[in-house]
């Protein structure tokens, strides 16, 4: 109990004095009641790290490396899927959606080094199915495979772009094109001119024109386009059915 408050207070002052710029944390500004530290803006800005160099293989729960992602995709898209499936452009081969590090099996939950696996998802536009394959990256085996109908995960960039292309090409794209021209003075001719967010549209009884009633089984999207370095354009009243390659307007404005 001898190292009391008096020493601690002195210590505070000393420490503040020797804290070098660049090593101080954000708590330099946040000290409630620490009078000498109350000045907002005293903390240095964050240090931006560059993207870490990737190895061929990740370790433990590391994000998948580019090599692992490509390998998982290749192993998952086997011959039959490649031959029979159809992508968002209507071409042969499944539409690539995502490749993620898979969660461990239950009996591996406490294993510090379980096998690294990837969950690879595709959408097959030929029969409107979501295909999930789990690939063991250590053995190269596809350990699990599933096909779901009526399940619509978020849209990939390629799908948002295709939806925008369909919209731009059709009469319902007039508003989008006009807004784009207002914002930029230029013509909108390609999805590349936009940044594209998209929300899955799932039909509910009575909420949409009949042409969109199959959305949910079909893969449909409501686009949120933004001019690159420019404003958002509201296109929420329009839904693009990527499975049927049709564009339609919702009843509500």
């Amino acid at each position: 109990m001898v190292a009391g408050a008096a020493i601690a207070v002195a210590g505070t002052a000393v420490m503040v004095g020797i804290t070098l710029p660049g090593t101080a944390g954000a708590d330099e500004t946040g000290g409630t009641g620490a009078g000498s530290q109350g000045q907002a803006g005293a903390a240095r800005p964050g240090v931006v790290e560059s993207a870490p160099a990737e190895r061929e293989k990740g370790k433990g729960t590391d994000p998948l490396t580019d090599d692992e992602t490509k390998r998982a995709e290749r192993l998952a898209a086997n011959g039959q899927l490649l031959a029979s499936a159809e992508n968002v452009d209507g071409k042969r081969g499944p539409q690539r959606l995502t490749v993620d590090l898979a969660d461990p099996e239950d009996d591996e939950a406490d294993d510090p080094n379980p096998p690294r696996r990837a969950d690879v998802t595709f959408y097959d536009y030929r029969n409107d199915t979501l295909v999930t394959k789990t690939v063991n990256l250590d053995t190269g085996k596809v350990e699990d495979s599933g096909v779901q109908h009526g399940v619509q995960p978020p849209l990939s960039r390629a799908e948002n772009a295709e939806a925008a292309a369909l919209l731009i090409a059709g009469p319902l794209g007039a508003g989008l094109k006009a807004d784009y021209k207002d914002a930029t003075g230029r013509e909108l001719t390609s999805p590349d001119q936009l940044l594209l967010n998209g929300a899955v549209y799932r039909a509910t009884p009575g909420a949409q024109p009949a042409v969109l009633d199959t959305c949910g089984e079909h893969r449909c999207v409501r686009l949120f386009p933004k001019v690159k370095n420019g404003p958002w354009i509201d296109a929420r009243s329009i839904v693009v059915d990527l499975s049927a390659r049709k564009v339609a307007q919702l009843k509500r404005g």
Partner: protein, 439 residues
């Protein structure tokens, strides 16, 4: 206490141990998270250094975790461990922690977004300016299918530290003696843009072992929707114009506990019942009872009820089983959907059960697509905790422009993880249990 020795070494200041623990200016542990020297032997490395976040806070507590980025959930924190100054080894808390949904229904019934599973939440990770991560480090995140194709690598993950004010205060026996400490937190956060909204996903790791997880919504209201009627919106333009449509944000977190390195945790529910004073008693009585939750459960928060997750293997130095208590935050439970009707769900681990609604995981046919369907009587051996926190946003004039951040979330707090306050100053370390004043 190797961490304190480290603090001294790094400050090169010849001051006492208690000073290092007490001084608000001892920010030695508060620099960039990646820049920490290895003070104590870490648990078996479960990720490479690039994906490790390790922070020794100035009070001597070290948090360690691994991060990755999922194509739908966004930021995922794995293998989270806590090591207060008096513990020789890190104490594992969580196998994995992540968001499990942001469900956004509008009050006029016009639309409902599932931001994680149907919208581009994860794709919408945004760059943080250096000033948005004061005192910290911004890590580069490889975003699968990032919405801006020109920037697949996003400077999007901030790790930094922040003071939270008093961790404790206690008057000593003499008038000029005060025991006090300013608490320090490790903060880990991202910002994800979904349409006009921007969501801040913040994880706050306190030096006393508490973890706070919050989602803040900011950005801009849906300004083309200012057409709601009375009872469905609020006028935020001049006079009775521009009715912003009210809506809810129902946010879900998925926590996979691995206390002391074991996933075989136990769930307990505690309820207290207050009775009127009996004859001869000065006050009402209150009786607390424990219910072991052995099967999957959809739980409802209520006053005098709480839950905890108990370690199967670990005990503290008092011989008490380590546990983490679930501390709910304010919530507006949304009655409109089956999966939002309960505050917490405890389900048996299943790797295909990933999101609280519209789950795209590869579950067998008939498994159900939302967390409420997964509560079906299974015995809990490896419980997953799903927390649902709702916020009903009735806009106000102040929401323009930008919209101030509105937060929702909850905490998990250590209960008997250590035998005493993990920040106890050394000279009080003997005051455990039924102590008597010493002279």
């Amino acid at each position: 206490m190797p961490s304190i020795r480290t603090s001294r070494a790094r400050t090169r200041a010849a001051v006492g141990l208690s000073v290092a623990a007490l001084a608000a200016g001892a920010t030695t542990g508060a620099g960039p998270a990646a820049a920490q020297p290895k003070a104590a032997p870490a648990a078996a490395a479960e990720c490479s250094a690039n994906y490790k976040i390790e922070q020794t806070l100035s009070s001597g507590t070290t948090w360690r975790m691994c991060w990755r980025y999922d194509s739908k959930a966004g930021l995922v924190l794995d293998d989270v461990s806590y090591q207060p100054k008096g513990e020789a080894q890190p104490i594992k808390v969580l196998n994995s922690a992540r968001l499990a949904q942001i469900d956004v229904p509008y009050d006029d019934g016009s639309v409902e977004y599932d931001d994680l599973t149907g919208f581009g939440f994860a794709q919408g990770l945004v760059n943080l300016a250096p000033g948005e991560c004061p005192g910290g480090t911004i890590k580069s995140v490889k975003v699968p299918d990032s919405w801006d194709p020109a920037h697949p690598d996003v400077n999007g993950l901030c790790t930094t530290t922040r003071s939270r004010g008093h961790a404790y205060r206690m008057q000593g026996d003499t008038a000029d003696k005060v025991y006090q400490a300013q608490g320090k937190d490790l903060l880990v956060y991202t910002v994800n843009q979904v349409g006009w909204y921007e969501y801040m996903t913040e994880w706050r790791f306190q030096d006393d072992g508490t973890i706070n997880m919050n989602v803040g919504a900011t950005g801009s209201l849906s300004y083309d929707d200012y057409d709601a009627g009375d009872g469905r919106g609020w006028p935020i333009g001049k006079d009775a114009s521009a009715y912003a449509t009210s809506h809810s944000h129902n946010v879900f977190w998925r926590l996979d506990f691995g206390l002391d390195g074991s996933s075989r945790t136990k769930i307990e529910q505690y309820d207290s019942a207050v009775s009127a004073p009996a004859h001869g008693q000065e006050a009402p009585t209150n009786k607390t009872t424990r219910t072991k939750v052995t099967k999957e459960l959809a739980g409802d928060a209520k006053t005098y009820r709480w839950w905890r997750v108990v370690s199967a293997t670990g005990k503290n130095k008092d011989g008490h089983a380590r546990s983490y208590e679930i501390v709910p935050g304010p919530t507006t439970r949304y009655p409109g959907r089956s999966f939002t009707q309960h505050d917490v769900y405890f389900t048996e681990y299943d790797k295909c059960e990933q999101f609280a609604s519209n789950n795209p995981g590869n579950c067998p046919a008939g498994a159900g697509k939302s967390v409420d369907k997964w509560v079906n009587g299974q015995t809990l051996t490896h419980p997953i905790v799903w927390m649902n926190v709702g916020f009903h946003h009735i806009a106000r004039d102040e929401d323009q422009q930008p919209m101030p951040v509105h937060w929702q979330g909850f905490s998990i707090a250590p209960r008997d993880v250590t035998a005493m306050n993990p920040l106890t100053p050394d000279e009080l370390a003997w005051q455990n249990g039924h102590w008597r004043p010493r002279s």
